[in-house]
């Protein structure tokens, strides 16, 4: 009883604190006025000349701020590594469903989803989408398989890790090549092509390819580890 009351009181006080803080925050944020110009807008201006990529977000992600993306990919790698290290792996699937309809559906859908993912990746510089989105879509195909086949499905962990590592290494090498052949990281060492075509953007496309492959492998691994975690 007493404990409950203390708990309620502490919740009340915490709530009060948070509300006060939010109100104060909002009070200050009212003063927020949009800037005259931003570097994003500048980048938008020079995007056409420097990248020939129709999707400005993509050029920002992969080119102008390619280093961020590299870091992000490394974070993902680090996280997946941590999950793989600490989750004790088992062959038992948490979702042990054996629905034939689901399995056949999965069989049909799997290549389609993968294909869709590849499309998203390769057209990342033309339309919304890109390596991350496509990678996750590809991973979702694998998740579908996990759900459908239960214990009987076990993708080759070695292959997944290898593709993850190598695509990551490819990404870094691309950066290093830029440094060696060009004058900076992710320098445009390939021809830019014409804007709006599939083979435009030079290195950007390669970056997204590697990212897509990597994200696909990582997300698959991630879901595998959580789905097949031992006796939770």
């Amino acid at each position: 009883m007493n404990l409950k009351r203390t708990l309620a009181l502490s919740h009340l006080l915490t709530g009060l604190l948070v509300s006060v803080m939010i109100i104060a925050l909002l009070g200050t944020l009212r003063l927020l006025t949009p800037p005259i110009d931003t570097i994003g807008e500048t980048l938008l201006h020079i995007n056409a000349q420097s990248t020939q990529v129709a999707n400005a977000v993509t050029s920002v992600v992969t080119y102008f701020r390619g280093l961020d993306t590299l870091g992000e990919v490394s974070i993902l790698f680090l996280s997946i590594f941590g999950v793989a290290l600490h989750m004790q792996h088992s062959t038992r699937n948490l979702f042990g469903a054996h629905d034939t309809l689901l399995q056949i559906g999965a069989q049909v859908l799997f290549p389609l989803i993968v294909l869709f993912g590849v499309y998203i990746i390769t057209h990342g510089h033309l339309s919304p989408g890109g390596g991350f989105q496509g990678g996750v879509i590809i991973a979702s195909a694998f998740v579908l398989r996990f759900l459908a086949y239960g214990d009987h499905y076990e993708p080759s962990a070695r292959l997944l890790t290898l593709s993850e590592s190598l695509s990551g290494a490819g990404l870094v090498l691309l950066g290093v090549l830029g440094l060696l052949l060009g004058d900076r990281i992710f320098a445009q060492i390939l021809s830019l092509g014409t804007m709006g075509t599939l083979l435009s953007g030079g290195v950007i496309e390669l970056v997204y390819l590697f990212v897509g492959l990597k994200v696909a492998a990582e997300m698959t691994l991630l879901s595998q580890h959580f789905i097949k975690a031992r006796d939770v």
Binding site: T14, L17, V18, V20, M21, A24, L25, T28
Partner: protein, 533 residues
Amino acid sequence: MFHFEATLLAHLFFGLSLLVILPLLRRRDLVLHLLLLLSLGILFYASSLATLFIGWEMMGWSSYFILASSARVATLQRYILFNLGGAFALLGAIALLYGFMGSLEYRDIDASLLPPWAMNAIALLLFVAVFVKSGIIGLHDWVVDSYSEATPLFSAILSAILSKAGIYLFIVMFMVLLKEGATEPLLFEIMAWLGVITSIVATFKAISQDEMRRLLAYSSIAQIGYIITILALMQGFALEAALYHTLIHTLIKLLLFMNIASIIAITQKERFSELGGMIYHAPVLFLLLVIGIIALAGMPLLGGFNSKFLIYTALLEEKRALLLGAVMFSSASAFLYCYKLVYGIYLGQRPQEASLHVSPKSYYLPQLLSAALLVLLALLPSLPVGYLSVIGVELGFAPLDDSNLFILQSAFGSFHGGALMGAFGVAFVALLGLLQLAHSKAKKVKDPLDISYCGEVPRSETNLHFGYGMGYELHRISFIAPLLRHHSRVLWDRLSLIASDFSALLSSLYSLSAQHVTLLALLLFTLLLLGGQ
């Protein structure tokens, strides 16, 4: 970082420090002792405050590690904390000086540029450093424990040499570097009285000790108290008196501690209550100790008187009657512990026949050397005066007269060491001869228990050595008892308790759950947001 300069003062102090190699007789902690010697060299020969501080700190920690082999943890804590406290005060003073001078080199320091408040702050900080090292009462806790728990040989080093570092620091700081500074005279007045109060209190504490080395530790504190008092006069003759006393005290404490080291080696006992009657087992040691205590008590016929004489006349010359009275009072009280020392160990009855070991022969050498020097100085009291007076001149004071080595000169009179020694010698020999020639024969009693004992016959189990408790009467004397009853340790213990409570409070903050940590962070954010603008 290291800048050195060879001065006579440095030579004097470093010459004394060479005794540090003494414990190598026992071949323990060779590296640490050499480090200690090195640190003393750095300290004394430094010509930059940074170098001086390096020497000071190295001395602190190397001695700490030597001490650590035998002392208790609490003692070690006390030792290092007090020493570092002093050292940090010194560091504070150095930093303050740097703030005004922009340099730490001795030659760049011009104290006349210091504003009075800064000079006084520096002086106060330096006082803390000097007082801690010298064990001024209230800051003396570490001295006694560490002296009594060090290895017997290292106690000798601690008392004979390391305790002098504070003296050196004072001389270098106040008589060389900050001589021109506008230090408030009241500070020196306070220092002088602190010195003499220390020597009085320490003397009483020494009398009431039961452990030999604790007694000597308090005695060291008391002796250094005189030096502090006399240095506070800031006069040339006072400086020379202080240096003379430093010299003498080093010799005496070396002799006494080595003597006690021998006794500990022989009996494995540390307390007066467990000792006694050693005179006939170790007559040479007894004689050496008697020489030591006569010198310690400052009686004529041994070197101890010379420095006392200089101290007294220096105080007389400054017309500091009350200060002198207090010093003499303390000095007279010292007879009591001097006698306790010799009685407790060598005289009286041996309590029980325990097995006796042999003292290492190497322990005799430093004792004999000190004793010989003390006798020599009694005969030629002006022997070191020439050297000391050169130091005085180096520091800008007038030279002393040392034309006749037999005569110790002062503004308030002089005495002839040779005449004193000669007269005593003649009288002693004549009276001894008279006694020998007397008709009656002295018969040695067979049994040491054959004594007048209120008509009773004491047996071997009767405790006849209760004289070791001498000085207990002091507890009944109303003005001394509080001094003996109260111990500054209580104060420090309470302080450490407060620190410990505070620490518990704070460390509980560091055991909060992650949620509470974020809550506090949010609270900080909110408060700053609301009130920070």
